[in-house]
């Protein structure tokens, strides 16, 4: 159950000795984590174990108190804005509630990153790119000209995904993508994530509480507890550990139901 990848294998994300504290409250201490290129890594943990803080640290929205973070081979801590820009166009992020810009239509939302990084791409090509991204995210054709407020929760997530995919990222961060979706919608979203990974060679960093998602699509699962990542492995091998939280999580009634599915 090594958390750190063996020598010789280059991780796409590598976190070493991460520490995050807010006042007296220590969220992470001495946290290590490696994400393999091309895998779907699920991140689980009880409420308040700092899953979102971990993601925010990796993507640079939260400056850690201590530690090293490398994404796509670049150091993320203490780098300049210009260096960060080059990394930012290589990842896509889906926030929990989509975080769509409410004054723009779905298609315009998808166009924002393209306009920002590739200003020479002009309509109609720009609109065409937005169009196929929207279709790839599984939204209906007429969704492009709708405003976020006119969309249902599931559609908003798909629109957020379309925006995250706008620049053909190598790395995709998903924060609870299936939370608040009905089981059919959640399953469709899982399938979509899998398909996109296959098609676009994505690496996916997936925060979730959804046991079905974990079983269905994750290659490995990282468990956050006691302020660090206590284990990263396939679910089968995690089950052999006798950490109480892991046992309760995967062997509880919901965990068993998801495993049986």
């Amino acid at each position: 159950m090594s958390i750190v990848l063996p020598e010789g294998e280059t991780p796409i994300i590598s976190v070493r000795g991460l520490e995050n504290r807010f006042g007296d409250q220590i969220v992470h201490q001495d946290l290590d984590l490696d994400v393999r290129r091309g895998e779907i890594l699920g991140v689980v943990g009880g409420s308040g174990t700092g899953k979102s803080v971990l993601m925010r640290s990796i993507i640079g929205l939260q400056t850690p108190t201590a530690g090293d973070i490398q994404v796509l081979g670049e150091n993320m801590v203490g780098r300049t804005e210009d260096e960060a820009k080059n990394i930012r166009r290589r990842w896509g992020i889906l926030f929990q509630n989509g975080a769509l810009f409410s004054t723009l239509t779905v298609a315009e939302n998808v166009e924002v990153p393209i306009r920002e990084y590739f200003p020479f791409i002009k309509p109609p090509l720009l609109h065409e790119i937005a169009g196929y991204k929207i279709a790839m995210s599984g939204l209906p054709e007429n969704a492009g000209s709708k405003y976020p407020a006119e969309l249902s929760g599931g559609m908003r997530k798909r629109a957020g995904l379309a925006r995250a995919l706008a620049l053909d990222p190598e790395l995709l961060f998903l924060d609870e993508p299936t939370a608040g979706l009905d089981p059919i919608g959640a399953q469709a979203f899982d399938q979509l994530t899998l398909n996109l990974r296959e098609r676009l060679d994505l690496t996916v960093f997936l925060i979730t509480h959804d046991l079905d998602t974990l079983y269905a699509i994750c290659d490995r699962v990282a468990v956050l507890a006691d302020r660090k990542v206590i284990a990263v492995d396939t679910i089968d091998r995690l089950l052999q550990l006798d950490h109480p939280w892991i046992q309760e999580y995967f062997n509880g009634p919901r965990g068993r139901a998801a495993a049986a599915a």
């Binding site: 409410s102 315009e108 090509l125 609109h127 196929y132 054709e141 492009g144 000209s145 053909d168 676009l200």
Partner: protein, 361 residues
């Protein structure tokens, strides 16, 4: 590189090498457009392709019947993916008519807003009626808290503003009246205009900006987070819980603030008269008492609570209109301030005519 392997025919060959990605989208598009039909695209030199590159190839094949050769299995796969996702997409909702349609929409919206405000006024009266019948339903703590926010915390800014306005009125008045040798009437000017008009009016504008906007933003945010809906389902009337305390606070605080504003403006004017016109404070106070009739004070103090009611009503009404997204909170907050100041000034004109006609000149 592999173009030599192609069958020699009349096609114009486009053979990109290296990476065919979004970073090269502009030049790739230009190169493709520069080539006349028929086109043959040779992808054997492409090492890396993303969906944008694939899309550029796809649209050339789709629109101009280009032939593609030399695509590896991965590239083929990517081309198939974008072809599957090829659906025309509208970027903006269809435009809604021209200037006339816009004017029409605006008129209808304005009409609906006024009708809605009337309806809301009715709902507030009903809520007041219910509270009068069962006074225990009045939320005392909420009202007292609003007293603090609307009234006590506004003392500083309203006091400072009024003090400065008093000085400005004195100074401007003195400059004009000096031309007639009548500087002493500056006192009449300061006393009457602040007590009768500017005290309540300036206070109303400040309260609309401070509290009317806050009411709209608070209630609007609660609408978005579904707190208002939660209240309804629990059986708490949002009008009783949210609107009535704010209206009571505004109605009761406005006259007090207006009186405070009058005092501070007279103080500012008095200071100006003392320093600049050498009228001693005692004389100034005596003159104020002589030239400002009691009816002026009544005019000011009767208007103030009405203004407060209008401000709170417009603020809460606009807050309740918020729906859907965060942008609405901003729009409705602006609307609340504009609407309440507009209504306050209209009412002020009505009051001016009314009080003149009953002889309180």
């Amino acid at each position: 590189m592999a173009s030599t392997a192609l069958p020699p025919d009349s096609h114009n060959v486009f053979a990109p090498t290296g990476s065919l990605t979004i970073g090269r989208a502009g030049s790739t598009q230009r190169e493709l457009e520069a080539l006349p039909d028929p086109i043959m695209i040779d992808l054997s030199g492409v090492e890396r392709m993303d969906t944008v590159g694939a899309w550029l190839i796809h649209r050339t094949v789709r629109d101009r019947g280009a032939r593609v050769v030399g695509a590896g299995p991965d590239t083929e796969n990517l081309l198939r993916q974008v072809a599957e996702a090829d659906h025309p997409t509208e970027v903006l909702p269809p435009p809604k008519g021209g200037a006339v349609a816009e004017l029409g929409t605006w008129v209808v919206d304005a009409g609906r807003t006024m009708v809605g405000l009337l309806g809301f006024f009715g709902a507030v009266l009903v809520a007041f009626g219910a509270i009068i019948r069962r006074p225990r339903r009045l939320r005392g703590n909420a009202v007292v808290q609003r007293f603090d926010v609307v009234g006590v915390r506004a003392l500083g800014i309203i006091g400072l503003m009024s003090f400065l306005i008093g000085i400005v009125i004195g100074q401007q008045g003195a400059v004009q009246l000096q031309q007639f040798g009548a500087e002493v009437y500056t006192i009449n000017l300061i006393g009457r205009i602040t007590v009768r008009e500017l005290g309540p009016l300036m206070t109303a504008i400040m309260v609309a900006g401070r509290s009317g906007s806050a009411f709209a933003a608070q209630i609007g945010t609660m609408k978005i987070t579904e707190e208002v809906d939660a209240m309804r389902t629990i059986g708490v009337s949002p009008v009783e819980a949210l609107v009535v305390p704010r209206i009571i606070a505004a109605v009761l605080m406005m006259p007090l603030l207006a009186f405070w504003s009058m005092l501070m403006a007279i103080l500012g004017g008095g200071l100006f008269c003392w320093v600049s016109l050498e009228i001693p404070p005692l004389t100034f106070v005596q003159r104020i008492a002589e030239v400002v009739p009691a009816t002026d004070l009544w005019v000011g103090l009767i208007k103030a609570p009405v203004f407060g009611f209008i401000i709170a009503l417009a603020g809460c009404f606009q807050g309740m209109l918020v729906a859907n997204d965060a942008e609405q909170v901003g729009l409705k907050t602006t609307a609340a301030v504009v609407q309440s100041i507009f209504l306050v000034i209209v009412l002020d004109a009505v009051f001016a005519v009314f009080f003149s006609s009953i002889g309180w000149i």
